[in-house]
Point group: C2
Chain length 355, copies 2
Amino acid sequence: MNYSESNQPHTVIAVDAMGGDFAPDEIVMGAARVTMETSINTILVGDKAKITPILDKTEHRSNQIEIVHTDQYIVNEDVPKIILSEKPRASMLIAAELCGSGRANGMVSAGNTGAYILSAAKNIPRIEGVRKTAIATVYPTRNEKKRDPFALLLDIGANIHCTAEELVQFAIMGKIYASDVKGVKAPTIALLNIGKESHKGGEILTQTYEILSSLKNLNFAGNIEGNDMLKGLADIVVTEGYVGNIVMKTIEGIAETLSHLGRYAFKRRFVWMLGLMALSSGIKQLKQITDYSEYGGAPLLGFREIVIKAHGRSRAKAIANAIKVAAKTHRDNVCEKMAREIAQYEQQFHGDPVV
Amino acid sequence: MNYSESNQPHTVIAVDAMGGDFAPDEIVMGAARVTMETSINTILVGDKAKITPILDKTEHRSNQIEIVHTDQYIVNEDVPKIILSEKPRASMLIAAELCGSGRANGMVSAGNTGAYILSAAKNIPRIEGVRKTAIATVYPTRNEKKRDPFALLLDIGANIHCTAEELVQFAIMGKIYASDVKGVKAPTIALLNIGKESHKGGEILTQTYEILSSLKNLNFAGNIEGNDMLKGLADIVVTEGYVGNIVMKTIEGIAETLSHLGRYAFKRRFVWMLGLMALSSGIKQLKQITDYSEYGGAPLLGFREIVIKAHGRSRAKAIANAIKVAAKTHRDNVCEKMAREIAQYEQQFHGDPVV
């Protein structure tokens, strides 16, 4: 990805300094790195007594970093639903408030996903016309001919089940994110299904297929099956959160499983085990890729400001990339473009833009 | 698996000789092999002019093989729905008729899955009380401590969406199949979901969770996520066909994807590519395992006679195993056991066994 250095001086990204397996150290170091490489301003939300010593020993431009103090923060064990009442001053909630009030133009957290979605939903309005927000993630494909060998999958868990219109909106948001942020021209969009034929998968998917086929400014590639998804036959794969979440976690789990299968293989065939052992470093790299450190995390699409969920295991580099992606998304007016295209679609199908 | 040689003399398995990528040669050779190794009788359904020359050059016991001739058969390109009217004498339909009429005690086909399900549904009654049939498949896990490092996933595509009661019945049928045919004692059962908590995944899954928890003779292990599925934390994973199909195809597609990623890796890191190259033979073996040649195919559970779908790429060995599994399932009265346990469950929850 190309992180241009021409960031407008006033792009401000709120960063949850307390969320993630390596918080606050790696989060603060990531923000510090951003100030050295770009003109992006960051607001670190979290425990000032912990953040300051890390900043003190990390190279950074202090005029681009602000600390907003709070001593409450969410841990992975917290049940998302009760967080809002029990931890009203949690760092990710305050980061979301900064976005909602206009002080920040986007936010990044590597913390508890469920709580993060609720924090955003409570404080940041949805894009006009958007029925549901969606989490998108990148995954590696084997289409090495493409400029971008990764593809975008959404939703991976902001919702469980979806209507056809919600899935269509996911396709539109995914298209704009992939073309503007990932730089894929006229990205192809496919619907995850149990067969290629348009009548497959039940009523909702059949209806979604029909609407997507009829949209002129959308490069719809039809249905895609589980195995073809990994071939990179589409730049964007659309599905409901229940399926997307299970598929994404299955892919994440495979690398680990492959290496463990080696032990079983031993009893069966020695050569096989050797092959698995030889791959172990490759598997680690594959895992790093699915950790989306390069792509700066998974965007929560549908809010008026960009909301990026960095992986829980994010290190400084991944956090820095997430902040840069958030800034680029703001600078390129991605959310405004989504609003425009969603309105066009609603007008085409319902006569009036949804307000 | 232990294929005991004590098959009762009169177990008869109908075999669709014309279905599969290597039909009729490998199918006929598989049936021939069974007659040499067991006392199972097979009925080969298909083109006699093609079957006879293969049998002539293959060692077999002729008193255990019968040919039922037809010159119609299903190809993969056939649309399942119109097959029944256009090809009423197709080999897999006749095989199903043989089961329905009691001449055969089970059937095996490596042909078109959709057509096969319809053929069975048209000719073989469902087990009393069973609401929907389901396709089950085995997949490799990395739990090498278990006697059986494979697990059973169902449904993988006989249905799209399911009610809670249908999912519960899948769990019961899976349990009996895993314990009787695969030989796993008190198999653990899990529900594929987007989180471990009982309230996850929407109304149907919450309800399913509740019922499964309340069943005494069922070893329910709770919800399982995509990544944990591959760890082998459960012997049986239950899900609706839409999700099961996509997950299974994703797993099947991964091995191929990994090897192709190697080329992309080349540009990034040479060592990684070497690891991937070294694994290629291991990947091929992994694919063979997911081809279920060892386990004799994917059973369609819920019919009164056992219906086995062998993989399209099945060779003689896989077909022979599928026939042996079908015979063992019949001999062990697996379908009767399912009927009994389904009736118990229905009585517990509805007061009367469903008829």
